[in-house]
Symmetry: none
Subunit: 250 residues, 2 copies
DNA sequence: TCATTTTCAATCATTTTCATTCAAAAGGAA
DNA sequence: TTCCTTTTGAATGAAAATGATTGAAAATGA
């Protein structure tokens, strides 16, 4: 029996049932227990299935959730502090835009029962916000799994019908010369538009984003204020010449 | 029996009933009391359930979900069958609108890896659909906790930029004379618009909705086709004079 | 309150499964 | 063929899961 064929059989069986034991698979393919183990090891590396004690189980359908949750773990305390600092700027009656992203997400818990209206392009913020008793508007648009954002013409159109007191934007890179950048051009347009529609725009960034440059430019340094945990250094000083920076300690 | 499999069984049972005793679970899975205890301990750590003296109970995530989940339970088998029947109408390459609602939600599992584009006004369908590998567009709008729908001018504006091969609409009432009705006028407008933008519009309704009249009119009987589990009777016959009805058995 | 019953957490012995190693078998190239 | 690499199956001790047992804790009912 060809190795590839065996792999197919294993995956096919797992598609029908949610789990399968090593012994079932061994019997079903005619291969020995050891071989099946090796197969499962390889297939797990390829993210085709998940090994469990005694066998294997289907990979959790959610192509989306894991990515976001993984990301969530990175630099978590910093993000939480930045989110808290952002929330402190919010006043009664504010109309806010909150961009999709793991850092901006940290603002949410601080909005409980605040009298604000939130517009967001993050479809998975909605349930949380409603639960906190906040009035929520979602932009339309195409749903992007990787970042959990809504993008495209519909997102931009919907945004046009709002004006914000404050907007909180996530960003992938900031560079003294190249300004704010992010990988996806369509996301960049939405961020840019939200900034333009706000009296005050805040970019939330942990220190790892400094001097990074991504593919799509969102704007120049002066186009927004910055909230970060970056410690004082020459790069930060340079940026502070151009715009206001709120520095949080962790 | 695989450990993972047992965990799934436990969670599945808890999803149906609100609580389950250790003994029930032991009997149901064939595992010993000790093993079940260990399972519950682990699953509680993962926040999948809450242990209580003598067994375990469902976890309630937040203030919002319960309402919708309660509703979910009502007439569940009927809704599942109706959702399945609706999915059978879908063809390769279709552009679909799927309305927010517990009945329309039952279509989702049948969309796995189908080559379709889905537009929806239900913000909590997005993650599921992306997980199934479907391209998703969300309408904009104000998020309504009670029904999980996006409504208002932004929703209508976003919808205008699409045309659908088929739309699947949830509805609260159908009446031979008064047509389709639903409680919220803003939701009614969205439903109406989606129907207008579709080559074929389908209203999904379990039999409890017949001869019900709600506050806001969505349209006349002939404005959509109907998918229901209503058994043959005079009321259904009357309606069938006006429009096509697909009847499912449960 | 107290006594009784049920459930719980901790521990132990047993069984099952796992990762690692090694040698045989099966290809592939010169 | 011979030499070399890859795949396979078996063997091993280590790790994990399981079921039974026990005294402590919690619930129950008088």
């Amino acid at each position: 029996m060809l190795t590839t064929k065996r792999h197919e059989i294993i995956l096919a069986l797992l598609k029908k049932r949610k789990t399968a034991s090593i012994h079932e698979l061994s019997e079903h393919t005619g291969a020995s227990i050891s071989t099946i183990r090796r197969d499962l090891e390889k297939l797990e590396q390829e993210e085709k299935l998940k090994r469990v004690h005694g066998g294997a189980s289907q990979i959790t359908n959610n192509r989306y959730e894991p990515e976001l949750e993984e990301k969530q773990g990175l630099n978590e305390p910093a993000k939480a502090e930045i989110g808290k600092a952002a929330a402190e700027l919010i006043e009664e009656g504010d109309c806010l835009f909150i961009d999709a992203g793991t850092t901006t997400q940290q603002i949410l818990p601080h909005l409980e029962d605040k009298n604000v209206v939130v517009v967001t392009n993050a479809y998975h913020f909605v349930t949380t916000l409603l639960g906190l008793g906040v009035e929520v508007y979602l932009t339309g648009g195409r749903a992007k799994a990787k970042t959990g954002a809504l993008i495209g013409v519909q997102a931009e159109e919907t945004l046009q019908s709002f004006r914000f007191d404050k907007s909180f934007i996530g960003m992938n890179g900031i560079h003294a010369k190249h300004g704010y950048t992010t990988p996806d051009p369509e996301e960049a347009r939405v961020k840019r538009l939200a900034m333009d529609l706000s009296k005050r725009a805040f970019v939330l960034m942990d220190d790892s984003k400094f001097q990074q440059v991504s593919f799509s430019k969102v704007g120049d340094i002066r186009d927004a204020e910055i909230i970060t945990n970056r410690e004082e250094d020459s790069i930060l000083s340079e940026i502070q010449k151009t715009t206001r920076v709120k520095v949080v300690k962790i």
